[in-house]
């Protein structure tokens, strides 16, 4: 009786998508709750005039073929993931009506996370949750909603609390969340309860159409085939046994006070995109950098120290400035747990040639901001290279005698400028002065573009000048 779905414009007249000869009846067993619920939904879509804007999501389970019947946009999704797919769809088309339809294995077992979080985000979708206390499609295994003592293929002696725990009341669980607007458990039992279910289905869909509200409708429903009961006996079981453990009724309803959220998307034209996406590019002053075009620069720099000493930003500033001199540059940080031990290092390459490996194994320049860094990297420096170390923090001298060495009390100098954190820029100033890597003018001018903390630009400019001055006093 329920396995023919007709007369609703939201159903196809002929189920062309159904394989085989029978294109007129559904795949549902006689007495199955799915068929009835389909009718209630289709009728509501007709009455509200939203068939065309509806997107119906078929789950994995007996209702996997809902798309044979619903003449709406249809998306069939993976087991348990309908609310996640619904999220992607609804956000792409905020004006559509998205129905996420699921069974109890689908929603309350494999898909528990997805439904909880879609509900918690208050996605503007309507969820129909068919609780028939069993896995229908796969042949009658236990569901999370199977009753204690109920025999199924995987609870042959009846569901035991010891082994399987208790049936989950999903409506009550979801009702603990703040975002859902309307939650009700109904049943497809007798005519009266089905008529009530009809009202609830309509209310839930209307709430989506009018307010983009999240509703969750649990539908207690019969699976006569797996219960091995006649359709009418199974409906009676739903009414007398299932509804006893899963109390019917509204679990949450804040629809009156719920204010529709604004889910419309910003429209950003291509001409506005560079601003929105921050595509601002660095300015290169060809005149000022001209003297550096002739230089043969090929530096591989390792910067190392404690986290918090600005080791990584020392590296990015050098690279950014290198880029402003039309050099090829790359910057590679040590990342992750390596950082947590309190030390940090980065590899910087600055060259006229295309850069191969961004990793610096044998630096031409080592910048050591603390003792462990000097200990760790001193021997890696190439013969003839340069070691710059902060001798206000490092209590030993490098032992290498085949490299140039600059001892600079960068931290002390930064302290004198009023901020320890500027030690890294003292070293930047010293390095570019010593090696004449870049135009100091360009570096000072661009510092404001490069540093994140704009209030520290002036201090850092001073630090760079101090570093350069230190080198000039050495010369």
């Amino acid at each position: 009786m329920n396995n023919i779905l007709k007369k609703s414009a939201s159903f196809y007249d002929v189920y062309e998508r159904r394989p085989g000869a029978d294109k007129l009846t559904t795949t549902y067993c006689p007495g199955c709750g799915h068929g009835v619920l389909h009718k209630l939904i289709a009728e509501a879509l007709d009455d509200f005039g939203v068939r065309e804007k509806t997107i119906f999501i078929s789950p994995v389970g007996c209702s996997v073929f809902a798309y044979y019947y619903f003449h709406t946009g249809n998306v069939q999704v993976a087991h348990g993931r309908a609310p996640a797919a619904a999220t992607g769809i609804k956000r792409a088309h905020p004006d559509s009506v998205v129905i996420s339809y699921q069974g109890d294995g689908d929603l309350a077992a494999i898909g528990t996370a997805e439904i909880i979080h879609a509900a918690n985000r208050g996605e503007g979708i309507t969820v129909f949750f068919v609780n028939n206390a069993i896995y229908g499609m796969t042949g009658g295994q236990m569901a999370p909603t199977t009753l204690v003592g109920q025999k199924t293929m995987t609870s042959p002696r009846g569901r035991s609390v010891n082994n399987e725990g208790y049936p989950i009341r999903m409506s009550e669980v979801i009702a603990t969340l703040k975002a859902p607007v309307f939650i009700e458990r109904v049943m497809i039992g007798d005519t009266k309860s089905t008529m009530h279910a009809r009202q609830t289905v309509r209310k839930a869909l209307k709430l989506q159409i009018e307010k983009n509200a999240f509703s969750f409708i649990e539908v207690l429903s019969a699976c006569p085939s797996n219960m091995k009961l006649t359709p009418s006996r199974s409906k009676q079981w739903v009414k007398e046994v299932l509804a006893d453990y899963f109390p019917l009724g509204v679990k949450k309803d804040v629809s009156e006070e719920f204010e529709p959220k604004d889910i419309s998307r910003l429209v950003v034209s291509n001409s506005e995109l560079p601003d929105a996406l921050n595509l601002e590019t660095a300015k290169v002053d060809s005149e000022k950098i001209a003297p550096y075009r002739e230089k043969k620069i090929n530096e591989e720099i390792k910067v190392a120290g404690f986290g918090g000493q600005g080791v990584l930003s020392l590296g990015t500033v050098l690279s950014e400035m290198g880029m402003r001199h039309d050099y090829q540059v790359s910057w590679l940080p040590s990342y992750g747990p390596e950082m947590r031990g309190g030390t940090a290092n980065c590899s910087v390459k600055i060259s006229q040639k295309k850069i191969g490996s961004p990793l610096v194994a044998n630096p031409t320049i080592l910048i050591a901001m603390n003792r462990p860094s000097l200990d760790k990297f001193e021997n890696d420096v190439i013969s003839g290279g340069l070691i710059i170390y902060d001798n206000s923090l490092i209590d030993r001298k490098p032992v290498r005698d085949d490299v140039e060495i600059i001892a600079i009390p960068a931290t002390k100098m930064a302290d004198e400028l009023g901020n320890t954190k500027a030690a890294n820029m003292v070293i930047v100033g010293a390095l570019i002065e010593y090696k004449d890597l870049m135009s100091q003018e360009v570096v000072l001018e661009s510092l404001g573009d490069v540093l994140k903390r704009k209030n520290l630009v002036e201090l850092n400019q001073k630090a760079i000048l101090r570093g350069a001055e230190f080198i000039n006093n050495l010369k």
Binding site: N74, R265, L273, L277, I355, S357
Partner: protein, 350 residues
């Protein structure tokens, strides 16, 4: 040329947005998290949506939904998260949904570590989930290419209605280099097959189920034909100093950057060595490999995995030329010197 200095993981998001991607669904994981950070920052500002999903499983299914709806959509993760996404990627491939997945590979198996590896090659290039499917796989080796391939991936995804991976590693994701931004796309191809909540699309169906074995076989054959066309038309590779090369180094991503320097060093010593860098991993650049195999004495595959790339090299060469492996694992990266020394050792042996 006007450039911006930024991280690989940020560049791929900017590239994607320039390609018209307006939806990001993902779950944080090192070393891919900056992709989520950048998407969280820029998607809302450019009219897109960003959701931090409850898991990678949810994320890829949100992608499935958005792709069904016709949106240019992306997600990103690293090894463990990609493993979780595989069922969803299979569904996307089965339902022929265009989407872009960035995998910033880290050390495995299990929790492994967060240092760079290339050990996701098999799970990304060979399908990875259940069923007879393939994803197009692009392997950038610079921050510029993270941006460029972020765009290219969407073109290929839409052209073939297929998932596309950008397969990279912790180094390329974390490093910073100058990037020159391409122009934003003017128009995204019309997707009349998508489900948009409109009259015109209300007969559309997105699904991967085919109950009848004949129907499903036909669907599979159609997919294989598509993959054959992709193999024919989309192979991409970069050759470096291969003209007179007797030894060919082959490796992708960060490895190619290291190999390039190794090649230069070896050339200075008079060794006739060149490099082939696969840019597409599926389709594997068979044409280039086959061509180079005609004149090469041997190939050396360099990878940060347990001999995953080398399988494709060997399958292509079919035993005509010896193919050797030099690999590191666990987050160790082969050095220029290691590659240099391996070539010298093999030259002595051969």
């Amino acid at each position: 040329m006007a450039k911006q200095f930024l991280k690989g993981n940020v560049a791929v998001v900017k590239g994607a947005i320039l390609a018209g991607c307006r939806a990001y669904y993902g779950y944080p994981i090192t070393p891919a998290s900056e992709i989520a950070h950048a998407a969280a920052m820029y998607m809302p500002l450019t009219g897109g949506t960003f959701v931090q999903a409850e898991s990678e499983i949810a994320a890829i299914n949100m992608v499935y939904g958005a792709a069904s709806a016709g949106e240019r959509v992306m997600t990103a993760s690293s090894g463990p998260g990609i493993s979780l996404k595989q069922e969803g990627v299979s569904y996307c491939a089965g339902a022929e949904l265009p989407c872009v997945i960035v995998d910033v590979v880290r050390g495995g198996p299990g929790l492994g570590n967060i240092a760079p590896e290339q050990s996701d090659y098999n799970q990304v290039v060979k399908g990875g989930g259940h069923g007879n499917y393939k994803c197009i796989v692009l392997a950038p080796n610079s921050v510029q290419e993270m941006c460029d391939f972020g765009m290219l991936a969407f073109d290929l995804a839409d052209k073939y209605r297929n998932p596309v991976y950008v397969l990279t590693d912790g180094f390329i994701g974390q490093m910073m280099e100058p990037v020159e931004f391409p122009e934003p796309v003017e128009k995204i191809p019309e997707k009349s097959w998508a489900v948009k909540g409109t009259k015109e699309t209300s007969d559309n169906l997105i699904t991967s189920i085919e109950l009848d074995p004949d129907d499903l076989e036909r669907h599979n054959q159609k997919l294989q034909q598509k993959y054959a066309i992709i193999e024919e038309q989309e192979q991409r590779a970069e050759e470096y100093r291969t003209d007179d090369a007797e030894i060919i180094l082959i490796g992708y991503g960060i490895i190619s950057r290291i190999m390039q320097t190794a090649v230069d060093n070896l050339r200075e010593e008079g060794v006739k060595v060149g490099m082939l860098r696969p840019i597409t991993l599926f389709p594997f650049p068979k044409k280039s490999v086959t061509k180079l195999a005609k004149s090469a004495k041997f190939f050396l595959t360099v990878e940060m995995s347990n001999g995953q790339l080398i399988d494709d090299v060997r399958l292509t060469i079919e035993g005509n030329v010896p193919v050797y492996l030099y690999n590191r694992m666990g987050g160790n990266v082969p050095s220029i010197k290691e590659i240099h020394d391996e070539v010298m050792k093999l030259m002595r042996l051969s």
